[in-house]
């Protein structure tokens, strides 16, 4: 059976073959884990990367999991939308162990908490970060910089 047909049998909302060997799979939040599991059964053995995009206009986060199938040499991107206020997702590290680390980064950079991942709250890259998660689009980097750092005086005079 064709790989596309097998994907269509999963619990998904939309499949979009963008170009050869690149399939976008959209699904709903609560079906995400089952879809990922199904993808793994189909043969998408590798989680290349997972991250999120801040769709601030829709007040949603878009999660995406980039998967790869070594046998068919096909990339699949599983996407889902979660609400921006109080974002909680379920861990995928039982299916794809590398997700464990990506989820820690997700928590730190977007403030998306991951249930089932014990390390999700642990500091990952940022040390002693007290502000808003920096990858959210409403985080103003310039404002933060002005507040925390001192710019060099163009005349070369320091205080």
């Amino acid at each position: 059976m064709n790989i596309l047909d097998r994907i269509k049998q999963l619990n998904i909302t939309k499949v979009n073959v963008q170009r050869e060997n690149r399939i976008f799979v959209d699904t709903e939040k609560d079906k995400l884990i089952s879809v990922l599991y199904g993808m793994k059964l189909i043969g998408f053995n590798q989680l290349s990367i997972m991250s999120a995009v801040d769709r601030i206009k829709d007040n949603e986060f878009e999660l995406f999991y980039v998967l790869y199938n070594y046998k068919e040499k096909v990339n699949a991107i599983v996407r889902t939308r979660i609400p921006r206020d109080n974002p909680v997702i379920e861990t995928a590290d039982k299916i794809y162990p590398p997700a464990h680390t990506y989820e820690r980064e997700l928590t730190e950079m977007f403030g998306i908490s991951v249930s089932g991942n014990p390390d999700s709250g642990k500091p990952f890259i940022l040390e002693n970060w007290k502000d808003k998660p920096p990858m959210r689009k409403d985080f103003d980097s310039v404002e933060y910089v002005d507040k925390h750092f001192v710019f060099r005086n163009p005349e070369g005079k320091n205080e």
Binding site: L126, P134, S141, Y144, V145, F149, R152
Partner: protein
């Protein structure tokens, strides 16, 4: 008279010291790419006695290559404090000077010399190997004249530096 001889002794010491500079290259950013070129046959920094060394205890120069973010700043301060006097800091590239292309980044600090005393900056993005060698020569001159006294400044203004470090690190 006594003061004079001590002065002379110090001068001779500086004269010899400047010919043997061991550097610890703290390669945080893209600037480290330029260093191998400086070390290899074409530019050969070893002819001035500049040799890369491994641990902060052995090194004289702390070469901060490229941008410094808050996370690496903590390590840089640790490393700097582990080095033995006299020690010199060379800021390398435009990022340690004013943040460079990362001027609006929440993670990158804008002026290295607010946190540790910098004796010399080598400007440029990236500085060419020639610029690096010129920088070292200039540092040697400073050492010879007794002007490279960053380690003394750090001790004298410890409160100022610590305060600044605390502000970004905590």
């Amino acid at each position: 008279m006594e003061k004079m001889t001590e002065q002379q002794f110090r001068t001779i010491g500086n004269m010899l010291r400047k010919r043997s500079l061991w550097m610890l290259h703290y390669c945080t950013g893209c600037g480290s790419m330029e260093l191998p070129a400086v070390g290899t046959s074409r530019y050969d920094m070893e002819r001035f006695g500049v040799v890369p060394y491994i641990t902060p205890r052995q090194a004289d120069i702390l070469l901060v290559t490229g941008y410094v973010n808050t996370k690496t700043l903590r390590r840089i301060v640790t490393v700097y404090e582990q080095m033995l006097d006299p020690k010199y800091v060379v800021g390398f590239g435009s990022c340690p000077i004013n943040g460079g292309v990362y001027w609006d980044s929440y993670a990158v600090i804008k002026q290295l010399d607010r946190y540790i005393p910098v004796d010399l900056y080598i400007a440029g993005c990236m500085p060419r190997p020639e610029a690096i060698i010129t920088g070292f020569m200039h540092l040697m001159e400073l050492i010879d004249k007794g002007k490279a006294t960053g380690y003394k400044r750090y001790k004298e203004n410890l409160e100022y530096y610590k305060e600044n470090q605390r502000k970004v690190l905590e």
